[in-house]
Each structure stands twice: as structure tokens, then as C-alpha cells.
């Protein structure tokens, strides 16, 4: 089984998501950059992706729109700033409802070892306030999350 997902919050403005996949990175890369593949996995199971546009070149625009079961439409878009196929992709991200106050820079790094690929996604917000503001995302509201025990959190925060 692939290593489990890890999420850490190093520094004041970053969120880092890491996950391993049992596939070569060329394939994982394609799943992140081809709309017909991306829309098959990105987002929550009960949300529908209605727009998935990717102009994969530096300065090219991307735009996603997902619709919640409640009918709420969440749109986000940005510009590709770095593309090193199949190793690294960086893009800006701005939500239509600008709760993150200025958007973020998202860097995804794909590294392969023995046919398995680790994806490291580093989201850098424009300020600590912006990172905190992401807490109010409608995306988050659509989910039912149980409260995890303080023990687990402290362990995770200490490991960060």
C-alpha cells in the first residue's frame, strides 16, 4: 500500500501535502495535467466538476469549477508559472469567492523511486491570515469530519 497522506503546516504561510502512488510518475503527471484524467479524481466524491480547463504552458491559464450537492458552484483559476515535465509544476490559484485574500502559489513535485511516485504539494498563501482564511472554504463545509483527539493532533504538530 502507498504511504498515507501527510499534511504539515511549516512556517506561517505554507501547507504541505505529501502522498505516494503506486504508479510511475509520467502517469501521475498525466493525471494531474490532462483534464479528461484530472476530472476523474480531483474533488470530493459527491461534487461534480463542470469546468476543467488546462492550458499547459508557462503563462497558460487553468480553471476549475466544481458544484456541490447543494448547488453551490466553487470556481478557481490561475496561471502556470513553472512546468518541468514530469517533475514539477507551479501555478497560482485564486478562488472566485476570494476567501483566501490574495490566493496562493501551489508547487507540485513528482519524484519516482522504484516505480512509485511521491507527490509533494506545497501551497503558499500570501500571508498567515490568508492561510487561516482558507478555513472558511465552502469546500470544507461540504464535509462531515469527526473531531480527532487532541493527542493525535499534538503528535502530528510535533512531527511537523
Amino acid at each position: 500500500m502507498p504511504n498515507p497522506l501527510t499534511i504539515t503546516t511549516p512556517g506561517d504561510t505554507n501547507i504541505v501535502v505529501t502522498r505516494e502512488f503506486d504508479a510511475p510518475r509520467e502517469l501521475v503527471w498525466l493525471c494531474h495535467t490532462k483534464p479528461e484524467l484530472l476530472r476523474r479524481w480531483y474533488g470530493l466524491p459527491d461534487w461534480t466538476m463542470t469546468v476543467c480547463e488546462i492550458d499547459l504552458r508557462i503563462g497558460g491559464k487553468w480553471r476549475f469549477v466544481t458544484v456541490a450537492p447543494t448547488g453551490y458552484e466553487m470556481g478557481s483559476q490561475g496561471i502556470y508559472t513553472i512546468i518541468v515535465e514530469p517533475e514539477r509544476i507551479e501555478q497560482t490559484e485564486y478562488y472566485d469567492d476570494d476567501w483566501t485574500k490574495g490566493g496562493s502559489n501551489n508547487a507540485a513535485v513528482f519524484s519516482e523511486t522504484h516505480g512509485r511516485t511521491t507527490v509533494t504539494l506545497t501551497v503558499t498563501y500570501s500571508s498567515p491570515e490568508a492561510r487561516a482564511a482558507a478555513a472558511a472554504t465552502p469546500m470544507a463545509e461540504g464535509m462531515e469530519i469527526g473531531f480527532k483527539r487532541l493527542d493525535a493532533v499534538l503528535a502530528e504538530e510535533q512531527a511537523a
Binding site: G11, T113, A135, F147, E157
Partner: protein, 126 residues
């Protein structure tokens, strides 16, 4: 403070390893500043400064009773920060689970119309 500012204060408070260690200690029960200072190679004023930041975030409170004024952990703001991270985690876990399934389908040899039908030759690990 509104919810966003509170969360921000929480993250700033949690960003420091000494403050996380203080919280881990307080998780076992309340303690005086003296008791909190002894495990760390820093001065009592330095610990007090960390405590002020933790207090501002609402992560700890200091009793006004007694000369030692014990410090105790408050779960509420921590819960907000955790809930947020858990929601964020849920989004990626759900998405990546679907990506696992998709990658498996794409690597099944039957799917000859897919971009990759077998694993490419492995690169040198050097």
C-alpha cells in the same frame, strides 16, 4: 477576534517547537511556569513569552488562583485548527483515493486506449 483571526493566532502559536512541547506537557495536566521551564534549556522569561503567545491564541489559560498560577491547556481553539486541517486532509484523501483507482485502471494492460499501458523502464536511482 473572529474565527479566521483566531485560527491564524492558533497556527502561529503552533508553528514553534518549544510551544508545541509546552502544549504536549500541559496535555498531561496543568503546571506552573517553573515546572514548565525545567524541561527546556531556556529561561523562565522565555517560557513566559511563549506562554503569552499561547494565551493570546486561547490555547492555554493561567489560573488567577494561588501563588504558582498554574497553566492549563484549552482544547477549543486547537479543535478549530484541527478541524480545518482535517477537512483539508479529507479533501485530499478522498481525491487521492480516486486517483489510486484511476492509476490502477490506467495501468491495466487491457486499456490499450490509455496514455500508458505499462510501467516505463525504471530510471537509475543514483
Amino acid at each position: 477576534m473572529n474565527a479566521s483571526e483566531r485560527l491564524d493566532a492558533t497556527f502561529i502559536a503552533l508553528a514553534d517547537p518549544t510551544r508545541r512541547a509546552i502544549l504536549a506537557r500541559l496535555k498531561q495536566g496543568e503546571a506552573s511556569v517553573n515546572e514548565l521551564t525545567s524541561p527546556f534549556a531556556i529561561s523562565q522569561p522565555a517560557v513566559s513569552k511563549h506562554l503569552k503567545i499561547l494565551e493570546r491564541a486561547g490555547l492555554v489559560t493561567r489560573s488567577s488562583v494561588g501563588t504558582s498560577r498554574p497553566v492549563r491547556i484549552e482544547a477549543g481553539p486547537m479543535r478549530e485548527a484541527v478541524d480545518w486541517l482535517e477537512k483539508y486532509r479529507e479533501f485530499w484523501e478522498q481525491s487521492y483515493k480516486r486517483l489510486d483507482a484511476l492509476l490502477e485502471i490506467l495501468q491495466t494492460p487491457r486499456n490499450t486506449d490509455k496514455p500508458k499501458t505499462k510501467k516505463p523502464r525504471r530510471d537509475d536511482d543514483a
